[in-house]
């Protein structure tokens, strides 16, 4: 075991291999508040990568309803069962990761979902916490009475992947050029140790080829400077993909850095697992706060506060408007007055969008035509 730095935990931790960060790390930010669970991302991924026989049950990208939706069934409940509740003190994780306190004879703390756990990809859809009584209404935000939210999930292309740690023959590797985690299809022997070791259950066994497969971050697109299919297909424009600076470095002009490190509005999913996941989420502001603390760590209250103040934060608002505005990877952005501008790696302009979309409110009654307008905004 090596001692490695995990900035998301505020401490070092044990990992089977020494710290070896890629030259740059691909990362995503998903705004859960804008997701409507339309599954366009799911279908975009499915129809691009996993439409072969043997991949029928595979959803490298899925969108689940929280807290009662999961794919595979109960994956996060099992994760919390394995690890116990996370304990944080002043931003530092005090409980153990999946790499620490591992039972004798295992490589990581994991579990293998049962076959039937993969049979219900949309279980729990739109099921809220709580029961509506006669007269129930939402008095204020945030509220903890009734809620659900959507969680879009892909492989987190972790800095310290559970799958890499679990594979006994190093058949999974992290690309040095962009941090994408891939299964070597020549070396994989289908042991499914990776499927057991990944806390997010994003490695899946191909029943036809008898090897394990996972999200490849659409690397052929990333190599051409394009964002992955799940990002560019998102009709709600909830996603952005780019490169995050290494720990200790911050570039406020970098969209990912700005969201994760400057405004700290986007947080890793179940950081207590210790894998340093590279998909960051803007937490759902109407969900139960205790639940969010477990799910996104101690920064979730502050992140929601920052998010709710977006309308008074021109830079953050401008960047939010740049989500989904270009297929190309945006390396830098800036806001000039009422315009937000995204740029490529060389600084060339990729796209410009208004910080506030123009809107027009029509009168309820159209006197010219003598008719009522059903839609006035």
């Amino acid at each position: 075991m090596a001692e490695v730095n995990n900035w998301q935990l505020g401490r070092t931790m044990q990992y089977p291999y020494p710290e070896n960060r890629p030259k740059r790390q691909i990362a995503w930010v998903f705004d859960t508040n804008k997701c409507i669970a339309c599954q366009t991302c799911t279908i975009a991924c499915k129809s691009t990568w996993t439409w072969g026989s043997g991949q029928e049950y595979m959803l490298w990208n899925n969108v689940e309803t929280k807290p009662f939706g999961f794919f595979p069934t109960g994956w996060d409940v099992e994760l919390l069962n394995v690890m116990g509740p996370a304990k944080w003190a002043n931003g530092k994780l005090e409980s153990q990761t999946i790499f620490e306190g591992v039972p004798a004879g295992e490589r990581v703390k994991g579990w293998l979902p049962a076959e039937e756990d993969w049979a219900n990809p949309n279980i729990g859809e739109d099921e809220p916490v709580g029961v509506a009584q006669q007269g129930t209404y939402i008095p204020s935000m945030p509220h903890n009475e009734m809620w659900f939210s959507y969680l879009a999930r892909i492989c987190n292309h972790c800095t310290y992947p559970g799958c890499v740690a679990a594979c006994p023959r190093q058949a999974i590797y992290k690309r040095p050029e962009d941090g994408i985690v891939l299964v070597d299809q020549e070396r994989c022997r289908g042991y499914q140790e990776c499927a057991q070791g990944c806390p997010y259950k994003k490695v899946m066994f191909n029943n036809n080829t008898r090897t394990s497969e996972k999200c490849i971050a659409c690397f052929p697109k990333i190599e051409q400077g394009l964002q992955p299919q799940c990002v560019t297909s998102c009709i709600g424009r909830i996603r952005i993909a780019g490169f995050i600076s290494p720990p200790g470095e911050v570039n406020p002009q970098n969209p990912i850095d700005f969201l994760v490190k400057v405004r700290k509005v986007a947080l890793p999913l179940y950081p207590q697992a210790g894998t340093e996941p590279n998909v960051y989420y803007i937490p759902p502001m109407h969900s139960g706060r205790d639940y969010l603390h477990q799910m996104f760590g101690p920064g979730s209250d502050e992140a929601i506060k920052t998010y709710q103040n977006t309308k008074n934060d021109p830079e953050l608002l401008g960047l939010m408007m740049l989500f989904g505005s270009t297929e190309r990877i945006m390396h830098r952005f800036r806001v000039e007055g009422e315009t937000a501008i995204g740029m490529d790696e060389a600084g060339a302009e990729l796209v410009r969008v208004p910080v506030r979309e123009p809107s027009w409110v029509r009168t309820y009654f159209d006197e010219v035509r003598g008719a009522y307008n059903h839609n006035i905004t």
């Binding site: 439409w51 006994p168 066994f205």
Partner: protein
């Protein structure tokens, strides 16, 4: 059973029938196991003339030989470990004809696992031989390892492995299972081959495209030849020559694996008549989640190869 605890007529007949059937089964299995010769004190590859019975694990030619019992151990040298000792003993018989050598491997396993499938693992067995025993002999010797690493080879100590898999045996005997065989209710309304044709669709089957032996669509032998130089280094050999067959009857696997004694390949083991060679074994029980390092293994044992 009646409510007052007495057996009614129907229950009595059922219970008596079950006892009789169980007894008959026990006697049958005992007779099946006991009708063979006893245990050999050493492992000998017996010299035979003519073709070896590599396709007939149940033939008298094999069962008339004394078996050499090999005590199996839980693999606990490197993680992950198996959760229990699923196969405590392996019976080994061996014969050769000067050209080929064959091993007959037998162990108890009442549940046949011959699937490669999500959350399902196959039964399998492996024979391991050193590639260059003369060079290895120069290494410091211990009474147990004979100078050879118990770690599936080691850097500078390459091993040659013959790995029989129950799922590959199924492939050879009955044809490769499709997803429809594994999951009859699975629906796939559009496949890459249906749209693009077989050749262009291959890229959507990454394991096949990469030439991974696990993914091979045509299977000629249930045995895979591999090389290794330590845990985690197992690699499919470029030249596949091993043959054999495995069957499970009455709760026991009987598997024959054979290979040329001298393939003329410096990266494979060479077995010489009249000499002694170390040999090691491993067994996997799919029902118990065995795969990869989660296995039973036996350390090196010497095998005399009759002149």
């Amino acid at each position: 059973m009646t409510t007052d605890g007495q057996m009614d007529r129907r229950s009595f007949i059922q219970a008596a029938g079950a006892i009789a059937a169980g007894g008959a089964l026990a006697v049958g299995v005992a007779a099946y196991v006991a009708m063979r010769p006893g245990a050999a004190e050493k492992l000998v590859a017996h010299r035979r003339s003519g073709p070896l019975p590599i396709d007939a694990p149940n033939s008298e030619a094999w069962l008339d030989l004394d078996h050499f019992p090999v005590t199996m151990l839980m693999q606990q040298i490197t993680p992950p470990h198996p959760s229990e000792l699923a196969v405590p003993e392996l019976w080994v018989r061996a014969m050769h004809n000067g050209t080929d050598i064959a091993f007959h491997l037998e162990w108890g396993d009442t549940v046949v696992n011959d699937l490669d499938k999500m959350v399902a693992f196959r039964d399998s067995v492996a024979v391991q031989l050193p590639v260059a025993p003369e060079a290895d002999a120069a290494a410091p010797k211990t009474s147990v390892t004979m100078g050879l690493a118990p770690t599936q080879g080691a850097p500078g100590q390459n091993v040659h492995i013959l790995h029989w898999k129950a799922s590959w045996q199924y492939d050879v005997d009955k044809g490769r299972r499709t997803v429809k065989d594994l999951f009859p209710n699975m629906h796939n309304d559009m496949t890459p081959e249906g749209v693009l044709g077989e050749a262009n669709a291959l890229v959507f089957y990454p394991g096949v495209f990469a030439g991974n032996s696990m993914s091979a669509r045509e299977r000629k032998s249930p045995i895979e030849e591999l090389t290794a130089a330590g845990f985690g280094s197992l690699t499919t050999h470029e030249k596949q020559l091993a043959q054999g067959r495995g069957v499970n009857e009455r709760g026991r696997w009987r598997v024959v694996v054979s290979m040329p004694m001298d393939s003329g390949d410096a990266t494979k083991a060479t077995v010489r008549a009249g000499a002694s060679t170390p040999v090691a074994f491993a067994v996997w029980n799919g029902e118990k989640g065995n795969r990869g390092a989660r296995k039973q293994y036996a350390n090196w044992v010497p095998m005399e190869v009759e002149a």
